[in-house]
Symmetry: C2
Subunit: 353 residues, 2 copies
């Protein structure tokens, strides 16, 4: 919260109204599903509703708790209106809906000058401290262990959904509060859908299987993809796998403080181009990871964000050929002065099961 207050002068504001729940969790520890956090120069107020009376009392630090009777926007708006002078308040244009903004304006009636928060909290969150990195390492180890344990059931005849169920069971059984996103298990031609949802389709012989999975542990996410083959793969598929793996390694090697995010993406694409596969890589190379599974920075084409020590990002090149299937390999790495350090530990060799 104090680091956020340091950005008040840059933003030209006296307060920030935080509506995005992961930002609220980051700033004051509240994990409920309804909250608004008003951070003033000298104090902070969390607005929530009566469902969270006990929970807020237990979780919230650094802010007083206001249980709103008639909606959080109205309570926060009335608090802002009560101030003696007109104030400049930052808010997240990328999270507040047009309707929320209209409802707030109807309460504050010109008493507030609204300013875009320019992702102030997200920028703080992009750089993790030692405690956060320790949590993320634990979340990454958890998903790596789960993958190792589930490997024996990944065989022809089991459904995509059943494999996903095993993975998600493993996450919770291992102490995670749940998957960090809907687990992807996609076999055969469906593996070419970069974001396929698992179905009751049975895994078949001589098929690629993409498994994209992550755990939330103590509020922090992991996100890891492995691709395996059921049976003996053709030379073409093996070569594709090696191309993706080399692209991933090149991307990891390019990571160090001071490098632009777009450079990492370029390193992966350059390798795939050597294999004639660049046009089949249809998404960006990675993304920040933390309380949310997608955070700043994005490792995409031309991204200008400069990597800093303590950032945690995924590195996940992939190639997708309609009809044949897809291959993606994804790890979570932390940016250190010595370069990228892997947090995920599951084997990256080509597994023919």
């Amino acid at each position: 919260m104090n680091r956020l207050r340091l950005s008040f002068s840059t933003l030209g504001v006296d307060a920030v109204l935080v509506s995005h729940l992961p930002n609220i969790l980051y700033l004051c520890g509240f994990s409920g599903s309804a909250g608004l956090l008003l951070v003033d120069e000298s104090r902070a107020t969390l607005f929530t509703d009566s469902r969270y009376t006990f929970q807020a009392r237990e979780e919230v630090h650094g802010a007083r708790v206001h249980i709103a009777k008639h909606g959080l926007l109205r309570a926060a708006g009335e608090e802002l209106k009560r101030r003696r002078r007109r104030r400049a308040v930052a808010y997240a244009t990328s999270h507040a809906t047009v309707a929320q903004k209209q409802a707030l304006d109807a309460v504050v009636r010109g008493k507030v000058r609204w300013v875009s928060d320019d992702n102030a909290v997200e920028k703080l969150r992009a750089v993790k401290d030692a405690d956060e990195i320790a949590r993320m390492r634990a979340a990454a180890l958890l998903i790596s262990d789960v993958f190792r344990k589930v490997l024996p059931v990944i065989r022809p005849g089991i459904s995509e959904l059943d494999v996903a169920a095993e993975i998600e069971y493993g996450i919770k059984h291992g102490g995670g509060s749940g998957p960090s996103f809907d687990t992807i298990v996609a076999c055969g031609p469906r593996s070419a859908w970069a974001h396929a949802r698992p179905t009751s389709k049975l895994l078949g012989k001589s098929e690629l299987v993409v498994l994209d999975q992550g755990a939330i542990l103590k509020n922090y996410c992991s996100d890891m993809t492995r691709t395996v083959f059921l049976g003996r793969a053709s030379a073409r598929v093996r070569r594709m796998y090696q191309a993706v793996l080399q692209a991933q390694e090149a991307a990891k090697r390019s990571i160090r403080p001071g490098v632009k995010a777009g450079e990492v993406d370029r390193a992966a694409r350059r390798t795939l181009k050597r294999f004639g596969l660049a046009s089949y890589f249809t998404h960006s190379t990675g993304h920040g990871l933390g309380i949310e599974v997608h955070e700043m920075p994005r490792l995409g084409k031309g991204e200008e964000t400069v990597l800093q020590e303590g950032m945690v990002v995924t590195v996940e090149p992939g190639v997708y050929l309609e009809g044949l299937g897809g291959i993606r390999i994804e790890d979570d790495v932390v940016v250190t002065a010595q370069g990228a350090v892997d947090l995920t530990t599951a084997p990256r060799d080509f597994l023919e099961l």
Copy 2:
């Protein structure tokens, strides 16, 4: 899509730009995580990105697919700008963020007059057709079966997380694509947190356990809560349970086409008041359910929405006493000419395990 077009004249528009993903799924079948659907008087266009090229081809009906290279908002905005005359277009102020609206405005530059969509798609979705109700019945049966199967493991010594893991495993193993929300398993005093997330805390003897769980099956949600006691409950706890059960039954009895949603909430509160427990009922009585786990209508205090045949709602009164714990009983019901018909089937008797 044609039912949506019938609302164009009421809204005073020539088109609706749909951004909320569940609305897009409802209207054209696309289940990806990035989409914008422009519904014109005579045609419709789904904008998505290259990750979804194959998936969109397979899933989308009633709309052509446009794979956007430079962002969906830009692609949709350019499509709108291309029209000969200035048009009125409805959009969801309750879903579009201020930043998205600003980005769209920067592209269309005054060529569009924006109008609030007044929840046009959500209103269509609130009333389910026979196929939707069949799916919802299947999703409700699935979660009821899962609860029955998991009952034997709900014993002192197992952790909240492990019970949640068993439930979510059961959902996927039963063919569901996953839980419809993060499963709640909360024991002892934590059961008084209406929305507690499961922890590694072990279930103890003589504790209340609230289990709130739901499944997504063929894109439709179920949502069911049961509360059990580990051991023999005190007379006070048993009386609390009977109060909640009677409140739920009163609420269900009040449901029929033509009744206001607020009446159902009042029926539950009236019963709890008779038991002196009304002040411990800290949330509303229920909510609509469908593609999303929270939909229209809300069954809350003073809600004016009139119930219609084909609506599907939860009925879930609860009481929460700090220190002692909470009790909630929740079923999914469909509104028929004959009144509320239960979709969830798990036992509602007080289970002392």
